[in-house]
């Protein structure tokens, strides 16, 4: 029997790097939900989020030799996720675009009718629409800053800026998001 205590993400990724590829399955089980959630909010579309999530795991397998002894798995994964999402946005005509509130019902594919949804879903849809109105870099830094496993220093590293700049940008993005949200809310209500 192997170790009783669960291995850390870092230990599992080092194991993958050293040839124990099956350990990637454990990392997938631990992280794919959060990764998908991040990508869905970033890209605004389920299929795109799922495609990119798969590409992220593919790249982690492919570039496993570049994972460093002193690395932090989550930071490495979201660094790849941001790059993969940017590639996807460039390639796809489905890149996030300002959403018309009148089409919010179809913002998420394969969803039941809005009338059947709880009130909380309205906020979700409005939030997604508000996120889509942010500048891509603002959306990225705001969503990254909400990932509890990342420090602002790591968010800054992923965004390739200073921690101070990431902090300021995230704060301003949050204010802009709120403004967009309330604007959309008023449009829907009117």
């Amino acid at each position: 029997m192997l170790d009783a205590t669960p291995a850390s993400d870092h230990a599992l990724m080092l194991a993958v790097r050293n040839g124990r590829l099956e350990a990637m399955g454990e990392l997938f089980e631990r992280h794919h939900g959060a990764l998908f959630g991040f990508l869905f909010k970033l890209l605004g579309e389920r299929t795109a989020a799922e495609d990119v999530a798969q590409i992220v795991f593919q790249r982690m397998l492919k570039y496993r030799h570049t994972y460093r002894e002193e690395g932090h798995f989550s930071a490495w994964m979201y660094h790849m996720a941001r790059r993969c999402a940017a590639d996807q946005a460039r390639k796809s005509a489905r890149a996030p675009a300002p959403t018309d509130p009148s089409t919010l019902d179809s913002a998420a594919d394969a969803q039941p009718a809005a009338a059947d949804l709880a009130a909380a879903r309205d906020d979700r849809d409005l939030l997604q629409a508000a996120l889509a109105r942010l500048e891509p870099a603002d959306r990225e830094v705001l969503l990254l800053s909400r990932l509890q496993e990342l420090s602002f220093a790591e968010v800054a590293d992923i965004m390739e800026c200073s921690a101070g700049a990431a902090r300021v940008r995230a704060h301003r993005a949050m204010q802009t998001l709120r403004a967009h949200f309330f604007q959309l809310q008023q449009k829907v209500a009117s």
Binding site: M1, R20, L21, G25, E50, Q54, T66, A108, Q111
Partner: protein
């Protein structure tokens, strides 16, 4: 501190990610500043909204696709020490072109993945005071999503006794020409069944199909997750008999870290037989 500086730190503060000294400074300012109190309330509301998982969850295809990639990589990857450069890029969806048997391997590995969640679900990160409700809700929702995926199999397990499941495995093994679904069932039993007897019987039944890459990969992936030394020994024997060199990394790890001395020894023996000198 000025209001702007306080507000820039609010998200970190409410997440408990600032040093105590700074937290005290921020609190002192907010306690005395109605404007920052309103800002804090708004930031908390939107942070909670942002932290909620989306209404949609990934389809089972994501798991199948990722596990197929792992299986493909395990089947084709040379020993890492010999690889100087990453391999040239493959098309993103190369796994879709795999033979049907590899796609089924993905299904089997999905079962192994479920097993990881069932047997060794990682403990959720302790929530901070400010974000506790949202974090717990997130964990519950994510677990619910996974639960939906594994529900069918769990239901099957709950409604059949170990004897019945064992009988199913033995019946499958006795079929003169078991179809791929039957083999998939054996692999699922090996990866997920809570009974040592059933898992042991599944290993034995899979010998007849050791020529299939799907079967060998599934055994190799299940081996490090297996909790019973008895079943681990059977798996090691299987991989040795199948002469599956893609299992060398798994066996190498077991030969040094297995708790059970007989497993450690068996893994070492298997390695000796699978090393290139024996081919």
């Amino acid at each position: 501190m000025k209001c702007e500086a306080v507000q820039e730190r609010m998200m970190e503060w409410m997440d408990g990610r600032v040093p105590p000294d700074l937290a005290n400074e921020l609190k002192a300012h907010v306690d005395a500043c109605p404007g920052c109190q309103a800002e804090l309330a708004a930031t908390q509301r939107f942070a909670r909204l942002l932290d909620r998982p989306p209404a949609v969850s990934p389809t089972p295809e994501l798991r199948k696709g990722v596990y197929a990639m792992i299986a493909e990589e395990m089947a084709g990857a040379p020993a890492p020490a010999r690889r100087a450069e990453p391999r040239p890029a493959r098309p993103a969806w190369a796994w879709l072109r795999l033979p049907a048997v590899q796609a089924l391997a993905a299904c089997a590995l999905v079962a192994a993945g479920y097993l990881a969640g069932l047997r060794r679900a990682p403990a959720p990160t302790p929530p901070t005071a400010a974000s506790a409700p949202a974090t717990q809700q997130d964990v519950a929702e994510i677990r619910a999503q996974i639960g939906q995926l594994v529900g069918y199999t769990l239901e099957q397990q709950e409604h059949a006794s170990a004897d019945q499941r064992l009988e199913t495995v033995l019946t499958t093994a006795a079929e003169p020409k078991p179809n791929q679904n039957a083999i998939d069932s054996l692999i699922t039993a090996l990866a997920m069944d809570p009974s040592v007897n059933v898992r042991l019987s599944a290993v034995q039944a899979l010998y007849a199909h050791a020529d299939q890459p799907i079967v060998r990969t599934a055994v190799a992936v299940s081996l490090p997750r297996e909790s019973s030394p008895l079943v681990q020994l059977a798996m090691i024997d299987f991989l040795t008999a199948a002469r599956d060199r893609s299992a060398i990394p798994v066996l190498t790890k077991l030969s040094t870290t297995a708790d059970d001395p007989s497993v450690k020894e068996a893994a070492g023996r298997a390695l000796a037989q699978l090393e290139p000198a024996h081919f």
